[in-house]
Amino acid sequence: MENKTIKININGKDFEENINSNLLLIDFIREKIKLTGSHIGCDTSQCGSCMVLYNDICLKSCSVLAIQMDGAKITTIEGISDGDNLHPMQESFRECHGLQCGFCTPGMIISAIALIKEKPTPSEKDIREHLEGNLCRCTGYENIVKSISAGAEKMKG
């Protein structure tokens, strides 16, 4: 397997790593950088558990190779807040009971933040449509949708 060195910025920090060219971005993030907040739920780009932000756009990191991300700036769930306080969207998930097992939650929150960037005041329908690529098996979505509405308000400050 061919090796390649890539430079990548994750959560504001620069990394330079020599990696196998078949390494998926999600495995790079979890195994090399040891940020395990992004999860793997399907491997085939349906569930959204592995979502990260790539220039404010949400990206399913199970479906790109790490080498394709050479030079990219990535934000994972660990990078959305300062580490002491929760991001308003996280707070809102907590308050609105927007998670049960929490496995889908990092992806949901990344997805929600990307939505709010695009549409600061999304309607319920907007939210539901936007979540098309994020599966949750625990909550039935009801409280996730509520969390995102409330989070959008909070993000206005």
């Binding site: 196998n20 078949n22 390494l23 998926l24 999860h39 793997i40 739920g41 399907c42 491997d43 085939t44 780009s45 349906q46 569930c47 558990s49 990206l59 399913k60 479906s63 790109v64 190779l65 394709q68 009971h97 998670l99 049960q100 097992c101 929490g102 496995f103 889908c104 939210i127 539901r128 449509e129 979540l131 098309e132 690529g133 994020n134 599966l135 949750c136 098996r137 625990c138 909550t139 039935g140 979505y141 009801e142 409280n143 996730i144 949708v145």
Partner: protein
């Protein structure tokens, strides 16, 4: 080291040869575990029925379902292990598969387990009351044939196992996201040919969903443990989604036929029930429990006294079945509640009237069912009344009239369901005859275990045995214990991880049968109370007052008569640790209580085959309005009302979260989800593009209502609530569809093409009938199946999907 499985692409075949030499040549590959090792180092899993079946932790000599593991590659990293699985060359001799119950029970069917000589591995008849007499007195006999599909709640996190073999101790140390029941611990230890204490099993505090499904990881704990033995190092395996969908587990499929003897008013005089369960290729523990979990509540919410039942356990060339939210409930109630609907159609009376005619009267609790269940409490009439009024049934009926007037297909469905919780572990032995049970020794009960302890700084630690995966057990316990000691919940930590070497557990430990609310929370409460009394006695001695005068309030302890005579909670706790002298004589000193609790109502099945299969029984009454899009066959759930009686509600928000979650999964089961196989046994649901889990767009908001009749049998009066909608919703939606299209034969999932086939006439067949396969991803997945059998699956999927983000 990392493990990757070599799996059978065929549903039924003899294994002729496994050639591992090419795989071993790949740099980074350490070893390959095959059937030879498995025969040497392990035993087949024990089976719940007395039959000569062998279920090893890898396919040995034969494979019986697509995805059955035949070898494990153990390598330095997972990528290498996965690549090497393609280099393992397995030669098969194909056998004809049996893919459904009908073909499996035919006399000339290919046999899965030759020594059994039949694919029906268990057959039992039961008779309660006098069914023949009931049928001879009937004004009318109504019959229904139904099928319930194989599906799964597919947690978003898949299975994980890390096992470490110690050659020195001949023991295994396992960390896995197993969810219990711990009754499977002896099953694993026996398969590994070791005493129980040589299998240390740890399950983590958090796990990404389970819904019963992660029970099935036990099968892999054994094979990964052998893999560790093979290489003498710890081995890790993380299941991927394809493996999960193809081979993890499935709810049992069921075919049932129910006949009802009724009066002219629709009163049930007797029921004849025949059930065939499709348990897949092996009867894997705790199966055939699906068929018996509902045994005590066979008659549902109704007062019918005469029941005959024939149960058959059937094997097919599919993934072995196992726990899945609702476990036996969706299957039973799909038949029973479709029957009630049919009776209403036959008699031309409102469906709800037929339900009400048959409901158990208000004052009949605790009620002994014909099959031995003891329904602890309830007020079914009150729940229905509330649902009608607060849910707006009249409005909904008006809406149906309006829709129908303008030519729409609109229907209303109902379902009344008894939701059992806290399984009596002895119910599974109902599959054996009374004589067999006598020989095996009685089985009954289900211990819950909790430990509450106070440290020298006055904070409290609680350990529970319920192994939750997101159901908020920790939160509930924290609040419960805080209320007992009147301290800040922040000072309470709850551990829900489990270590078989250190924690209190019994075979009943785990997260299943909705046992938390009734059993586990109750046990915590009793343990906390006991410790509280102890602490109160210590406080009385300390403060020189009578025990009954000690008051605990807001982290303070003081005298009722003299509030100035006080001490902080943490000080009291500290002194009990630091100065044993302050502890009254004859009192066990440590500030720690471990309590085991079980129910006296949990008896073993008796000679009449009566069994109180659960400890507590809630009630659910649902109704919904659905509209069918006549152009596409799509079902639109217009309104859904679900009313629950789960006794005392410990945490209403968490309860509603459970209801919403179960409801969403049940909508999936009703309309989208099914493990599909082609007739030749090929598996057709290998990705989430084919096994369609609902997204936020498909799940409507349900109107949730509650009434509460506390259980007299559980310490807090609470009952399980997590599985109810898995039982009530599929049949409620099916009844609404049946009402809308005025047809009887409703099979789930009611996908648009299926429904469209029912409502359309031949002449307006659409050009593209393949409605389910619409977008790019779905097309890919069809190609994927073909490629899977060509063993290029992984490379293919990754290359394809890398380009679609």
């Amino acid at each position: 080291m990392h493990a990757s499985f070599v799996r059978s692409p065929y549903s039924h075949a003899k294994i002729l040869k496994i050639n591992i030499s090419e795989a071993l040549k790949l740099d980074g590959v350490e070893a390959v575990l095959t059937g030879e090792d498995v025969i040497k180092w392990s035993e087949p899993f024990v089976v719940g029925v007395k039959q000569p079946m062998e279920h090893w932790c890898l396919g040995v000599k034969k494979v019986r379902y697509v995805g059955e593991p035949v070898a494990i590659v153990i390598a330095r990293d997972r990528y290498i292990a996965e690549d090497a699985t393609e280099l393992v060359n397995v030669e098969y001799d194909l056998l004809p598969p049996v893919m459904n119950i009908e073909s499996s029970i035919k006399s000339n069917a290919p046999i899965l387990h030759e020594k059994v000589k039949s694919n029906i591995v268990s057959e039992r008849n039961f008779n309660y009351g006098n069914v023949e007499k009931a049928f001879s007195l009937a004004n009318n006999i109504v019959e229904i044939d139904v099928e319930y599909p194989r599906n799964s709640c597919t947690p978003i996190e898949c299975f994980n196992v890390i096992s470490e073999y110690s050659d020195e101790n001949k023991s295994y140390n396992v960390l896995s996201n197993f969810q219990g029941p711990m009754a499977l611990h002896p099953v694993m230890a026996m398969a590994l040919k070791i005493p129980g204490n040589k299998l240390r099993l740890r399950a983590p505090q958090n796990s990404g969903g389970s819904f019963g499904v992660k029970q099935a990881v036990f099968y892999y704990i054994v094979s990964i443990s052998l893999a560790s033995k093979k290489v003498g190092r710890p081995v890790k395996w993380v299941e991927d989604r394809l493996e999960h969908l193809i081979a993890a587990t499935s709810a049992t499929g069921r075919k049932s036929k129910i006949s009802a003897a009724i009066t002219k008013d629709g009163l049930l005089l007797g029921l004849k029930i025949i059930q065939y369960d499709d348990c897949g290729a092996y009867l894997r523990a705790p199966e055939p429990a699906s068929l018996y979990r509902m045994h005590g509540n066979l008659s549902g919410a109704y007062s019918v006294k005469n029941i005959s039942l024939k149960n058959y356990v059937v094997l097919t060339n599919k993934t072995p079945s196992g726990l899945n939210r609702g476990f036996g409930g969706p299957q039973l109630y799909f038949g029973l509640e479709r029957l009630m609907h049919k009776i209403s159609k036959v008699l031309n009376k409102p469906h709800l009237q037929i339900i009400k005619t048959n409901l158990l009267p208000q004052n009949s609790f605790p009620y002994k069912t014909p099959s031995g269940g003891i329904l602890d409490s309830g007020n079914y009439q009150k729940a229905i009344q509330k649902a009608e009024k607060d849910g707006g049934l009249e409005e909904l009926e008006k809406r149906r009239r309006g829709k129908r007037k303008v030519g729409k297909l609109y229907g209303i469905g109902f379902a009344a369901v008894v939701e059992p919780s806290i399984s009596n572990m002895g119910y599974i032995s109902t599959v054996l005859s009374h004589e067999e049970r006598l020989k095996a020794g009685p089985k009954n009960g289900a211990y819950a275990c909790a430990t509450v302890s106070i440290d020298p700084l006055g904070s409290i630690s609680v350990t529970i045995d319920s192994l939750p995966q997101g159901q908020g057990h920790q939160t509930v316990v924290q609040q419960l214990v805080a209320s007992v000691f009147s301290i800040d919940p922040k000072n309470i930590t709850v551990s829900s991880d489990l270590d078989t070497h250190k924690d209190g557990w019994s075979i009943a430990a785990g997260n299943y049968s909705s046992r938390f609310g009734g059993a586990v929370a109750g046990t915590v409460y009793l343990a906390a109370q006991k410790l509280f009394l102890k602490l109160k006695t210590i406080a009385a001695k300390n403060m020189n007052i009578n025990v009954e005068d000690v008051i605990f309030q807001n982290d303070l302890v003081f005298s009722k008569n003299n509030p100035d005579n006080k001490i902080t909670f943490s000080r009291l706790a500290g002194s009990s640790h630091w100065s044993p002298d302050t502890i009254p004589d004859a009192m066990a000193p440590p500030l720690r209580e471990t309590l085991y609790w079980t129910m006296p109502q949990h008896k073993a099945p008796n000679e009449k085959d009566e069994i109180n299969s659960s400890g507590s029984y809630g009630f659910i009454f649902d109704y919904c309005g659905v509209e069918i899009d006549q152009n596409t066959g799509k079902v639109i759930i217009d309104k859904y009302v679900t009313t629950h009686d789960a006794g005392t509600l410990l945490h209403p928000e968490i309860v509603n979260g459970q209801i919403q979650g179960a409801f969403a999964q049940a909508v999936g089961a009703s309309l989208y989800e099914e493990f599909k196989y082609a007739d030749n046994g090929e598996f057709l649901s290998g990705t989430f593009a084919d096994y369609l889990v609902p997204t936020a767009n498909e799940i409507p908001e349900a109107c949730i209502l509650h009434i509460s009749t506390p259980s007299p049998f559980t310490p807090l009066g609470s009952k399980g609530v997590g599985e109810g909608n898995s039982m009530s919703t599929p049949v409620c939606i099916a009844n609404a569809i049946s009402d809308a299209i005025e047809q009887d034969k409703i099979t789930l999932p009611m996908t648009p093409p299926k429904l469209w086939g029912l409502i359309s006439k031949k002449e307006d067949l659409p050009k593209n009938l393949n409605l389910e396969i619409t977008d790019e991803k779905k097309k890919i997945s069809v190609e994927l199946y073909q490629n899977y059998t060509n063993k290029k699956f992984w490379k293919y999927i990754k290359n394809k999907l890398r380009n679609i983000v």
